[in-house]
Amino acid sequence: MNNKSKNAFLNYGLVIVFFVVFQALLSTGNISSLLKGLLVPMTAYMILAISLNLVVGISGELSLGHAGFMSIGAFTAAFVEGVILNNIKMEGPLSKNLGVQILIFVISVIVAAVFAAIAGFLIGIPVLRLNGDYLAIVTLAFGEIIKNIFNCIYISIDETGVHISDKNPSLDASFAGKMILEGPQGSVIKKVSIFAAGIILLLLVLIIVQNLVNSKAGRAIMAMRDNRIAAESSGLPIKKYKLMAFTISAAIAGAGGALFALNSTGITPKQFDFNASILILVFVVLGGIGNMTGSMIAAALLYILPEMLRELDVQKYRMLIYAVLLIAVMLITNNEKIRALAGRVFKKKDKVSVKPEAGKEA
């Protein structure tokens, strides 16, 4: 087994261990309600970190609009759920119908990934003509544009079908349907996500990304990142591969967004703003650019950290502690001496994080 596939299997193993540990805690009831509530969003953010790492780490482009793709996935899931619940007859509440839940989950995730991929493809065409800082700024703008589009769409459903409008139909006295997306007030969602389903999705995403990285296309993408001119002069179609990485990343972000949405009771466009994009970027940067294992661990730890601090006596300082920890991790992982001390483990990381810069210089 070569080094690369060893790494890949390490990641699968890690996810499975993570799942087994928490599932054991869940079934024995040894888990706090707080942690129980955080499990699925944590998995969703791990998926998003992997997705962004594909763009930032593997393809070497800085994207600051990832929450936009997440929100496309999230609202698609809300929409799919609304349509399914409107067209299906079931006995009792949704929480008792596992079959319907799985149906909603699977269809939502697939449709969300497709929609986000389409958006990623369309946005990728103009955006990927740019490089470096410009690309970062334009992706940021697209993230905000997506948020503002959702802010003025109203989707409702009734016997005659689905209605999409830029005016709020529920303001009308004769309105008899059901709102799916109510502009800036977002969508109300019936919770369907299950932890196991999230883990399966996470594994699937890992399999896709790691196989992509180890494939011909993946090598081409990394070649472009390392030296664009050399790659281009070897006859690699740059645009095609860049667009491919960006679209796949968007699709994964959409799937993660669907998972996140289906686990909440409601989502609003405001949740998926610039700060959410930066949060995902922080996971990627702190976990190690190009390092899938690292970004998963960083996403899991950094997502639950501020909430876990709630349980301690230091509650009023919890955001301060969080910030100090972020800075500390940044400084420590970038300190030459500590890196030298850390030896081989960090040497590998060092190599990876140097790679994207080479592409920039070219």
Partner: protein
């Protein structure tokens, strides 16, 4: 090549500073808004158990019937924004609830309450986390959440778990819809919207009305909808309707300008006080002086830090509570609040004060009827069923400082009359 690393670092640092900035400025402004911040902060510290018995006067506890054996300790959890944009509400509710819990504990009976307050920063996801934290620490009843959107999210969880919730101030009908365990102490949005329209119409306050509302906020849009429906019915002329979202709540010159151009002589503001203060300021600067009419979210504007209260002169707002009421219960509450927190309590503080009393009286009502009740160690779902049965009992009513004879319907909505107050010389005066 250093540039990319630098860029990454900067992005990270930016995010970090955004977090720090939030944490710091917010707690800073909370502290500054409350001269007695030390005490408030202390109360916010998560597991503070309020069992001191310093306030020893039973006299002002409004109407407690003697007899009945209600015993034990009830763990009450409170969720609300203690930091962030809506912090004034959360802190007011917390302070009010704290006074009420102290009073109940000082009644000398064998019944005690503990209060555990959690900060949700007016964020639905965080509010659910708060709720889960409270559930882990053996909370039996929730007072909260303070704001509407988080309350809808938490209500969903509480409904599945069978935890009783009494919200002091989340006023949307979505809060109580389809959930038999969630009750409101404030009146619901439809009542506020239609009552406002009715009030404006009855008192001939205006001929042309402009509305500025937040269409990203369930609370604001909910009131607007019912206001508009009622206004159309009454024939009130709405000449300008403009919206904003939380992202665009920094500049209102367009909205105010449009109202001015349309010749509106009254602007209806079904919004929270922070954007309202900007609207008042910008209208003032434009030399445009219509009447302003707000709802309960406007309450708190006088205690907003850095706001020139003279700009709020003449603002009319709908509230169930005014601190200048003459009755003994209100006077005693206002006095205590002033002593402990150094400010005049808002309607939110009064709502927060009434909530523990409503729960206490409901349990007492049950104990009287069923020959005693010991709440120590009872599970939250048992208490939930008891409280639901009492709150929907037509014989059960509560006299609080936000209303006399409050009764609840099966939906969980309270029935009480709104009052209008006008701001005169920096204080609320009943109209």
């Amino acid at each position: 090549m250093k540039k990319r690393v630098l860029g990454m670092l900067l992005a990270g640092v930016m995010a970090v500073s955004a977090f720090t900035a939030c944490g710091n400025t917010e707690s800073g402004s909370t502290a500054a808004a409350n001269p007695d911040a030390g005490e408030t902060e202390e109360a916010a510290a998560e597991t503070e158990e309020v069992t001191e018995t310093e306030e020893g006067e039973e006299a002002e506890a409004p109407e407690t019937s003697e007899g009945g054996a209600l015993t034990g300790t009830l763990n009450v959890g409170c969720i609300g924004p203690m930091t962030g944009g809506a912090a004034i509400y959360g802190n007011a509710v917390q302070n009010g609830a704290k006074i009420a819990v102290d009073e109940i504990n000082a009644l000398g009976s064998d019944f005690q309450m503990t209060l555990n307050v959690q900060d949700d920063e007016h964020d639905a996801q965080k509010s659910v986390n708060c709720y889960n934290t409270l559930k882990d620490s053996d909370t039996q009843v929730i007072v909260g959440t303070v704001t509407t959107a988080p309350c809808i999210a938490v209500g969903e969880e509480a409904y599945n778990d069978r935890m009783f919730m009494l919200t002091p101030s989340a006023s949307s009908t979505d809060v109580t819809a389809d959930k038999d365990n969630v009750f409101q102490l404030c009146f619901a949005d439809p009542n506020q919207g239609s009552a406002s329209a009715q009030y404006i119409y009855d008192n001939q306050l205006a001929t042309k009305v402009a509305v500025i509302y937040n269409n990203a906020d369930a609370y604001s849009s909910g009131i607007y909808q019912t206001f508009k429906a009622k206004a159309d019915e009454l024939g009130l002329d709405i000449v300008s309707e403009t919206t904003f979202t939380d992202d665009t709540a920094n500049d209102f010159s367009v909205q105010v300008g449009q109202a001015k151009d349309a010749g509106a002589d009254l602007i209806f503001l079904p919004i929270y006080y922070t954007p309202a203060s900007l609207i008042l300021g910008q209208a003032y600067d434009m030399g445009y002086t219509p009447k302003f009419f707000g709802v309960d979210g406007m309450d708190g504007i006088l205690t907003l830090e850095g706001f020139d209260t003279s700009k709020a002169e003449g603002v009319i707002l709908l509230t169930p509570f005014s601190a200048d009421a003459e009755d003994a219960a209100t006077q005693s509450f206002v006095g205590k609040y002033n002593d402990q927190f150094g400010e005049t309590p808002s309607q939110f503080a009064a709502d927060g004060y009434d909530c523990p009393y409503a729960i206490y009286k409901a349990l007492k009502f049950y104990a009287d009827k069923n020959g005693g009740l010991d709440v120590t160690g009872m599970s939250y779902d048992e208490i939930c069923e008891i409280l639901i049965s009492v709150f929907t009992d037509p014989d059960f009513s509560v006299d609080g400082i936000t209303g006399q004879g409050m009764v609840w319907d099966a939906n969980g909505e309270v029935n009480k009359a709104p009052k209008a107050v006008v701001i005169t010389n920096g204080v609320y005066v009943g109209m």
